[in-house]
Amino acid sequence: MTDLRAAIGMFFAVIGLILTAAGMVLPGRAPLENANVNLYCGAAMLAFGAVMLWLAGRGRRSG
């Protein structure tokens, strides 16, 4: 089947993009937290997704 890393990477990249966008567009803050949680968590998930996609791509090239 398609590399599981690619599926996981794609999932977190998409979620990361949605959260990052929400962090930039929506003014929403949580009751006890002033930081822009969506932006930071979104960026972290985007990075994790990118690493998984890179690993999947590397795996495909090497066979």
Partner: protein
């Protein structure tokens, strides 16, 4: 708690992905063994993450956070001494027999090693127990979503069951395992920010520790006497009951987790599975338990946050996790957090369904109903069993919502049946003289000893139904640890005696099943960082460091 459209969008995206993974995994299924054992072809990093994810059900996540708020960092004993040593033992010493015997399930190993009656006893109790625990977990989830989000109990139970059904029906064990890896990452990335944000708000670890009793931030300094800690346990009960009997009984013999290791693509991968899984397992307390502890500190800070109450005024610790999410996650991340909760539920349920499926199809159906059918027949049975298993789980969830007492009673009985199991496996794997009659008699004696211990002792008003009360425990947890200790000892002694009194199997039939008649795999061909023993030593060093750090 109110969800925004973006939260629902994230949840539906997750549903789409798990179904998609099931759809891709279906192409790998052409025989019953592909469907039920993944054809022993899964890479080790995947089996390792699935190994802990299958255990990380919603009840586990919600319950561990609740215990964190109730007992503090001592809850981590369920992850450290209560899991890691047993996981290492399973990988180093038991996997050579499970994997090497070519058994397709844990009960089938018992059949090969002992006899049919021992296998059937284990298979029947395991199958029933699996369905009940999946139903009870479904009930807990439906209740929580009804309470927190106002979703209908029926809708959330049926929708989540339907999705698990579709992806396990399509791809069997492979599909469940692949999804467990996705679910594992989602649980970590969905809950870890909560722990970090909440801890930061309460002034970091030291700020939090200053606001709560010292016993909540120390794991070992308050266990000399049961009266010193809120768990009501003392060090012997903790180490022998939890750390040895219950922990080894679960991680070394429960087919739900062992099945993941048995799906690995080689003997060395099967042995490394529980050992590699021990690394993330060790740090899970910081993600699932710490938020509960922080919640207690936050409730002391006049921020407007309080631990939720039940109608009768007692604390409702099960709601700590979701109320914290509502305080720290804005719309968007809140959706990810709830999706992570849903993911933990699904990984637990799919674990139960796939394990039930294999035990029913191979151990009960093929063992007793139709012995010699073509493989396509068993594949069909396995697919039908998937539907039946999910339907029975849903039925159990409804049963639990109407008859809570029956559920408590059944969980108690299952506890009695499970407690002695590890003694049977230990003697079976390391003593070639152990016999089928011995194992069977030992299991019955162990279960009887467990019931008798419960009947003769009292804790929080539970037990004592045999008339006389010999001992009163400060908590049901302490009582459970001691029930396990007595059950294990009785099973060990009776198996030993009854084996000596009954004829043993010829050595030829015990090849690859018992220590001394099995080729223990050599690791020399592997790179040093791939050797099970090396990895286990690293785990032990880290485990000791963690315990010293939070002493």
């Amino acid at each position: 708690m109110k969800l925004a459209p973006v939260d629902y969008f994230i949840l539906s995206l997750y549903f789409a992905f798990v179904l998609g993974i099931g759809w891709l995994a279906r192409r790998r299924v052409s025989t019953s063994s592909d469907f039920l054992t993944s054809g022993r072809s899964v890479p080790v990093w995947i089996t390792s993450l699935a190994f802990i994810a299958a255990n990380l059900g919603a009840q586990e996540v919600i319950g561990m956070c609740a215990s964190g708020a109730k007992y503090g960092i001592m809850t981590a004993h369920f992850y450290w001494i209560g899991a890691i040593p047993a996981m290492l033992f399973a990988g180093l010493f038991m996997m050579p027999f499970y994997y090497g015997s070519r058994a397709r399930s844990v009960p089938e190993y018992l059949k090969l090693r002992f006899d049919e009656k021992t296998r059937t006893l284990n298979a029947v109790t395991f199958a029933v127990m699996t369905i009940f625990s999946s139903g009870i977990s479904m009930y807990a989830l439906g209740l929580l979503f009804e309470l927190v989000l106002g979703w209908s109990f029926t809708a959330s139970v049926l929708l989540s069951a339907l999705i698990v059904l579709i992806y396990t029906f399509l791809g069997g064990l492979s599909s469940a395992i692949y999804n467990e890896v996705l679910q594992f990452f989602l649980i970590v990335l969905g809950f870890a920010p909560l722990s970090i944000l909440a801890l930061r708000r309460s002034g970091g670890w030291n700020g939090m520790a200053a606001r709560i009793p010292a016993v909540m931030t120390h794991s070992w300094s308050h266990v000399r006497h049961a009266s010193e800690n809120p768990m009501g346990v003392e060090v012997f009960g903790l180490v022998a009951g939890l750390g040895f009997v219950l922990s080894f009984g679960y991680w070394c013999t429960d087919f739900l987790v062992v099945q993941r290791a048995m799906a690995a693509d080689s003997m060395s991968a099967a042995r490394r599975t529980p050992i590699i899984a021990a690394f993330p397992k060790m740090v899970m307390p910081f993600i699932v338990i710490v938020p509960g502890i922080v919640a207690v500190a936050l409730s002391q800070m006049s921020l407007g946050y309080a631990i939720p109450h039940k109608a009768d005024g007692a604390f409702d610790y099960d709601q700590v996790l979701t109320t914290l999410m509502a305080q720290f996650y804005p719309s968007g991340m809140l959706g990810v957090g709830l999706t992570a909760l849903m993911a933990s539920f699904m990984s637990g349920m799919a674990g139960n369904v796939t394990a039930f499926n294999t035990v029913w199809t191979y151990d009960l159906y093929q063992g007793h109903i139709r012995k010699h059918a073509p493989d396509s027949h068993y594949l069909l049975v396995a697919r039908v069993t998937t539907i039946a298993g999910v339907a029975l789980s849903v039925a159990t969830a409804y049963l639990a919502s109407h008859f809570n007492n029956i559920m408590d009673f059944l969980q108690l009985v299952f506890g009695f049946v499970n407690a002695p199991l590890f003694a049977t496996f230990l003697l079976g794997m390391f003593w070639r003289r152990a016999t089928g009659h011995g194992a069977f008699a030992g299991l019955l004696a162990g279960t009887a000893a467990a019931a008798a211990t419960h009947g003769l002792t009292l804790a929080e008003g539970k037990g004592g139904w045999l008339g006389a009360v010999i001992q009163t425990f400060p908590s049901t947890m302490a009582q459970n640890f001691w029930i396990a200790i007595f059950a294990w000892s009785a099973c060990f002694a009776v198996t030993l005696l009854a084996s000596l009194l009954s004829p043993s199997k010829p050595e030829g039939e015990l090849r690859n099943l018992v220590y001394g008649l099995t080729d223990i795999p050599h690791d020399r061909a592997l790179a040093w960082y791939q050797r099970p023993v090396f990895l286990a030593v690293v785990v032990v060093v880290l485990l000791v460091a963690l315990n010293l750090l939070f002493w």
